[in-house]
Structure formats: structure tokens, C-alpha cells
């Protein structure tokens, strides 16, 4: 308990520093927020445009497709908000500054994963939640059970995302020539922006069971619409536990392989 309190204190300290450095770049704050809102609006419009050609998108109506899109944005924004520091990891390895982090008296993953809380994403998260609830109440039938399942599957998605980010960190150590591993993760997850049923079965299975992006983004809205079986819900939780376990193993392996680069 004492350890958790200690780590929480360090997390809040990092977050305070992060807020200060964000406020140092006022123009950057404006451009970032404007760009995010613009991108969100454009994709929203794209879905609207697709539905202007067709009433149903592989069985999904407009409200359902928007809920899938908003769920994707909620998970994506929340994970970016918490794990922003991962985006800045590679330069630390290349310059050798990673050594100094390893020497600090706190868990190294605490600093690398949670060390750069992004307050700008927090600002984006509020209107997203508002929009989500607006469209949620447009659904003709939702029950308490599906809402609870949705909530737990969101947490599950967050756990899977944590494992992805740990693997990206490990890749930063193992393959220093790769400078946008995190962006590859982002691109793969962008398959979740639209209902998964628009993809072919082989791709769908690959993205669900091999790279569990489908479990992250398509399972929560499916549970909400009452389309997810109990068996698949259990599989989703198992997948997140396995991926977290594997990612930690890969991280430990990468740490053993780490060699000081600079300094």
C-alpha cells in the first residue's frame, strides 16, 4: 500500500512537470487541439458521407457506426493521454539518457509509461464523452448488463493498450533504427475506427486473435449492442492478461539486451 502511495506521488509529480512544459508552448497547444478537433470532425463527416450512399454499413446503422467511432476515439485519446511519454522514448535510448532513468529510485516503467501525462488529450476527452453519451441515448435498446460489460471491456482495452506500449518500449531498445514503432501501433489500431465487420474474415480474425486490436475496439461496442457472446467476453479478458504477461517478458528481455549507447 505504501509503495502504491509512493508511486502515485511520483506520478502526480511527473504530471505537474508535464503540465508546466505544455503551458510553455501556448501556440503548440492551440495547433494541437485545433488539429485534433479537425481530424475528428473530418472522420465524423466521412462516416456521414459513406452513409449517404448506403443505409447500412455491413449491418450497422449510422448511430451504431458513430458509437464504434466514438469508442475508438475514447480509447485512443485516453491511452495517448496516459502513455504520451512512450512517444519520446527512442531519443532517450539513442542519446544514452536512458541510463539516468535506470538509476532513479522508482520503477522504470512508471517513468517511461506514465511520465508525460498529456493534459491536452484530457481537454479533448470531455467533449468526446459528451458526444458518446448523446449517441448512446439514441440507441433504441440498451440494458444495464450491456453497459457494465462495455465498461469492463473498456478497461480491458486499456490493459491491452498498456501491453502494446510496453512492447513498443522494448522495440525502442532492441531496434534503435526504428523511430516510429508507436506510429505503426497507431496505424494498426486505426482499423478500429470503423465497424470491424467491414473487413474480410481473415483480416478480422488476424486483428482479433493475433494482434488483439479487434478485442480493444470492436468488442466494447459489440457488447453495448448486445452482439458479443459470453464466450467472447471471457476470451477478451484472457487475451488482455496473456498480452500483458507477454509484454512484460519482452520488456525484461529487452532490458537484458540493452547496451549503453552514448555518454
Amino acid at each position: 500500500m505504501k509503495k502504491i502511495y509512493h508511486n502515485l506521488k511520483i506520478f502526480f509529480l511527473f504530471s505537474r512537470y508535464s503540465l508546466r512544459s505544455t503551458l510553455d508552448h501556448r501556440a503548440g497547444v492551440f495547433f494541437f487541439l485545433f488539429g485534433k478537433i479537425l481530424r475528428f470532425s473530418f472522420f465524423f463527416f466521412l462516416i456521414f458521407l459513406v452513409f449517404s450512399k448506403n443505409q447500412l454499413l455491413n449491418g450497422y446503422n449510422f448511430t451504431q457506426a458513430i458509437i464504434v467511432f466514438l469508442t475508438f476515439n475514447l480509447i485512443d485519446t485516453a491511452t495517448q493521454m496516459v502513455f504520451r511519454e512512450v512517444y519520446r522514448f527512442r531519443p532517450l535510448v539513442v542519446s544514452g539518457e536512458f541510463d539516468f532513468i535506470l538509476l532513479k529510485p522508482y520503477p522504470v516503467l512508471l517513468r517511461l509509461l506514465f511520465g508525460g501525462f498529456d493534459f491536452l488529450d484530457l481537454v479533448v476527452l470531455f467533449p468526446l464523452c459528451f458526444l458518446f453519451f448523446y449517441f448512446l441515448f439514441q440507441l433504441p435498446s440498451i440494458n444495464l448488463f450491456s453497459l457494465i460489460a462495455f465498461f469492463f471491456l473498456l478497461i480491458n482495452a486499456f490493459l491491452i493498450s498498456t501491453s502494446f506500449h510496453i512492447i513498443v518500449l522494448a522495440m525502442g531498445i532492441l531496434f534503435t533504427t526504428v523511430d516510429h514503432a508507436i506510429m505503426i501501433y497507431r496505424d494498426i489500431t486505426s482499423f478500429g475506427r470503423f465497424p470491424f465487420d467491414i473487413y474480410r474474415k481473415s483480416l478480422r480474425d488476424f486483428l482479433t486473435f493475433i494482434i488483439p486490436v479487434g478485442v480493444m475496439f470492436s468488442f466494447p461496442p459489440k457488447a453495448l449492442f448486445g452482439l458479443l457472446s459470453f464466450q467472447n467476453t471471457i476470451i477478451a479478458f484472457l487475451i488482455s492478461l496473456i498480452s500483458l504477461f507477454l509484454s512484460l517478458k519482452i520488456w525484461q528481455f529487452a532490458l537484458k539486451k540493452y547496451q549503453v549507447g552514448g555518454n
Binding site: 508552448h25 501556440a27 503548440g28 492551440f30 495547433f31 494541437f32 485545433f34 488539429g35 479537425l38 481530424r39 473530418f42 466521412l46 458521407l49 459513406v50 452513409f51 449517404s52 450512399k53 448506403n54 443505409q55 447500412l56 454499413l57 455491413n58 531496434f175 533504427t177 526504428v178 523511430d179 516510429h180 514503432a181 506510429m183 505503426i184 496505424d187 494498426i188 486505426s190 482499423f191 475506427r193 470503423f194 465487420d197 467491414i198 473487413y199 474480410r200
Partner: protein, 280 residues
């Protein structure tokens, strides 16, 4: 006697011009080769970047495949998918750039090294851009081929090739100048990524990579035609697909080319006057 002298002068002039042209071609070749070598020094990085772009293409094709499922006209589907494949492939030719490095060079002062080179700054970066475009296009063609196979698309053959190539060249130049302008922000501010981030988002939607712009409501479409975005790759793509446009739209493409050129030249001069650096 005079005729002989004049001939000699002409020959000397021609020789000089040929030498100059040869030097330009040699410089172009060297810069293209160096840029290609730079790319292949980080092969895995580059391949992963191409993988990212291919994934994005797949997502859009899957989305529209589902969106057009109930469309009765096979021809409409064929034209739509042909548009998407052409637009995405052409976009790599238009948007591929190395000018993104300039802002960092301005901020670090390293731009001094480029300015000291015996080649015009604009030409130097244009040649580097050409190499970037060549590499990206060769991969994009392969990816387009893969997409055609996966989605079993019958591609429409290009038409109006001469006009299409002229407008494509305009698009390349407009993109080059806008990219330079975005980098020149570095002369006044260190916050250079923000405007580029917004430009990237605007281009990806308003230049027609996700859908043909004529799907938009007419008033929005007409307003959009007044901006530089459709002239980057929407217009060349549509021309290649055989669509006809009013003359003023073609004129606007040239208008944006000259306007962006003039603004870039002006900002470059202002930026140079404003630029100072120490320690190099």
C-alpha cells in the same frame, strides 16, 4: 570574316550552355543518389513507413467497399475505386518531400551549411524532393498493384494524359512551395510542427484522398475549388480519369502555382533578413 566570328561566338555560347546543363543534370543525379542512399541507410524504418501507408489505403478501400455494397452500378464502383487508387498513388508523387528537415535546420543553424553549397537552396531541396517522390512512388505503385489484386478492382485506363501531366506538375510545385512556407515558419518560431500537423490533416481530407471531392455538397465543393487543396491531386486524378472541368478551374491551378511561388520567394527573403545564428 564576321560570319566566322559570329559562328565561333555561337558555338562558345552553346558549349557553355551545354556545360551548365550537364552540371545541373550531374548535380541532380548526385543529390537523387545521396537521398536514396540516406533512405536505404534506414531500410527497416522506410519499409515500416510504407507498411503504415499501405494499412491506411486498405482501411479506406474496405470502408468504401462496404459503403458501396448496395450500389447497383458496377461502373460507378469501378470508377470510384479507380479514383481512390489513382488519387492515393498520385498523392505520394505530390506530397513526398524532404523540406520538412528545413525547419529543424533553421532552428539548429545547420541551414548555414546548405546556404554555403554552390547550388540554389530551392533547387537543392527540389532535387531531394524528386528523389523522395521517386522512391515513394515506386513503392506506392507496388502497393496499388497489391490493392487491385486484393479488392479485384478493374482499373480504368488513364485519359487526357498531357493535360493530366501538366496539372500534376502544378500540383507538385504547389505542394513544394507550401511545404517550404511551412518550414520557413522556423525563421520566426520554434513551434513548426503545429501548422504542419494541421496542413497534413487538411490535405488528407480536402485534397480528396478519402473520397472524390465532388461527393460534397455543391456549395462546399465550389468553395473548396477556390483553395489550393484540390489542385494537389484531386484535379490531376479526375483529369486522368477523363473528367472535363471548366477552363477557370484549370486557370486556378496555374494561379495557385504562381501565387505560392511568389509568396515563398517573398517569405524566403524576409526570413533570410531575420535569420541570425552563432556557434557554427
Amino acid at each position: 570574316m564576321n560570319i566566322g566570328k559570329n559562328n565561333q561566338k555561337m558555338i562558345n555560347k552553346l558549349e557553355k550552355r551545354c556545360k551548365k546543363n550537364l552540371t545541373i543534370i550531374r548535380t541532380l543525379c548526385i543529390l537523387v543518389l545521396v537521398t536514396i542512399k540516406e533512405y536505404f541507410a534506414y531500410r527497416l524504418n522506410f519499409l515500416l513507413w510504407r507498411l503504415r501507408t499501405f494499412l491506411n489505403l486498405l482501411i479506406i478501400l474496405f470502408l468504401w467497399e462496404a459503403g458501396l455494397k448496395s450500389s447497383p452500378s458496377l461502373l460507378e464502383k469501378q470508377a470510384f475505386f479507380s479514383y481512390l487508387i489513382y488519387a492515393v498513388t498520385i498523392s505520394y508523387l505530390v506530397l513526398g518531400t524532404r523540406t520538412t528537415d528545413i525547419a529543424g535546420e533553421i532552428n539548429s543553424g545547420a541551414i548555414v551549411n546548405t546556404l554555403l553549397k554552390p547550388i540554389s537552396f530551392f533547387r537543392f531541396y527540389f532535387y531531394k524532393d524528386l528523389a523522395d517522390k521517386m522512391i515513394n512512388l515506386s513503392f506506392a505503385l507496388f502497393e496499388a498493384f497489391l490493392a487491385l489484386k486484393i479488392f479485384q478492382i478493374k482499373l480504368l485506363l488513364p485519359q487526357q494524359i498531357v493535360l493530366g501531366v501538366i496539372l500534376l506538375a502544378n500540383g507538385i510545385m504547389i505542394s513544394f512551395f507550401i511545404n517550404l512556407l511551412l518550414s520557413f515558419i522556423g525563421f520566426w518560431s520554434r513551434e513548426v510542427w503545429g501548422p504542419r500537423f494541421i496542413f497534413f490533416i487538411l490535405v488528407s481530407f480536402l485534397s480528396g484522398a478519402y473520397f472524390p471531392l465532388n461527393l460534397l455538397p455543391k456549395i462546399i465543393y465550389l468553395i473548396l475549388l477556390l483553395t489550393p487543396f484540390p489542385y494537389l491531386y484531386y484535379l490531376p486524378t479526375k483529369i486522368f480519369l477523363g473528367e472535363r472541368f471548366p477552363l477557370f478551374v484549370i486557370f486556378l491551378s496555374f494561379f495557385w502555382f504562381f501565387l505560392t511561388y511568389l509568396i515563398t520567394k517573398k517569405i524566403w527573403r524576409l526570413g533570410n533578413k531575420n535569420f541570425s545564428f552563432w556557434g557554427r
